[in-house]
């Protein structure tokens, strides 16, 4: 089966600019996750969707970050305006629901550099 797709792979922007990342999960996976991975650290969950509903967005900085999954498939994560500390890799993952939800499949990530 095709894996999780993300684009772009790399993005360089200046602080205060806006940026958007796109994710296409594995077909049939109802749950979609966005993680932020700062260099040298483990991934940190930003938001979790089940179908098109938000399950957990407790660690999403809502003053600047937003995410949507309108049709329960693809998802977009946006940062507006970006700060220097947003430089990180943004990972998207998807999983099935229920007791199989633990096995998350990750995409390659988008590396964001804010200058």
């Amino acid at each position: 089966e095709a894996g999780v797709a993300q684009s772009p792979r790399y993005k360089i922007i200046e602080k205060r600019q806006s940026v958007a990342f796109w994710c296409n999960p594995i077909s049939g996976h109802a749950t979609l996750y966005w993680y932020q991975q700062i260099l040298g650290q483990g991934p940190k969950l930003l938001i979790q969707f089940q179908n098109n509903g938000v399950v957990d967005d407790s660690q999403l900085p809502k003053d600047r970050f937003s995410a949507e999954r309108l049709k329960g498939v693809d998802s977009t994560l946006k940062i507006q305006p970006a700060k220097l500390e947003d430089s990180a890799v943004y990972l998207c993952a998807s999983s099935r629901t229920g007791l199989a939800a633990y096995e998350q499949y990750f995409g390659p990530g988008t590396r964001l550099t804010v200058t």
Binding site: Q41, P43, L91, L99, Y102, E103, P108
Partner: protein
């Protein structure tokens, strides 16, 4: 690709030896634990998982041990190969795929 974990703890092992990577988890309520492998420029890849009602689980060349008393998890890799070189993360959460928290990671370096 980018480097993952430039300042992570590093475990260096000789090719063919066994590797043991340790992890301390934080939430006593977590009932599901996973080990992930992350190679440079790639997303984490699932290796093996274990539920809180177990203390040991074996896969192909890998074994995960869980000690709930001291909230400790370990990953054992038998006959370590060059392809095992990567950053390894433990993650804890609920068995329904919620509340996942990743540990800081350990870089495994396999020496020829």
């Amino acid at each position: 690709g980018e480097s993952v974990g430039l300042h992570l703890p590093t475990l260096s092992v000789q090719e063919g030896d066994n590797s043991i990577i340790n992890c301390a988890y934080s939430n006593s309520a977590s009932d599901y634990f996973i080990w992930y492998k992350q190679e440079s420029g790639k997303g984490p890849q699932f290796i093996i998982d274990i539920r809180s009602n177990m203390d040991k689980r074996q896969g192909q060349r890998v074994t995960v041990l869980l000690n709930k008393t001291v909230k400790h998890l370990s990953l054992q890799i038998a006959a370590t190969q060059p392809g095992d070189s990567a950053v390894y993360f433990c993650a804890e959460g609920s068995s329904y795929g919620q509340n996942f928290v990743f540990g800081p990671g350990t870089r495994l370096s396999v020496l020829p």
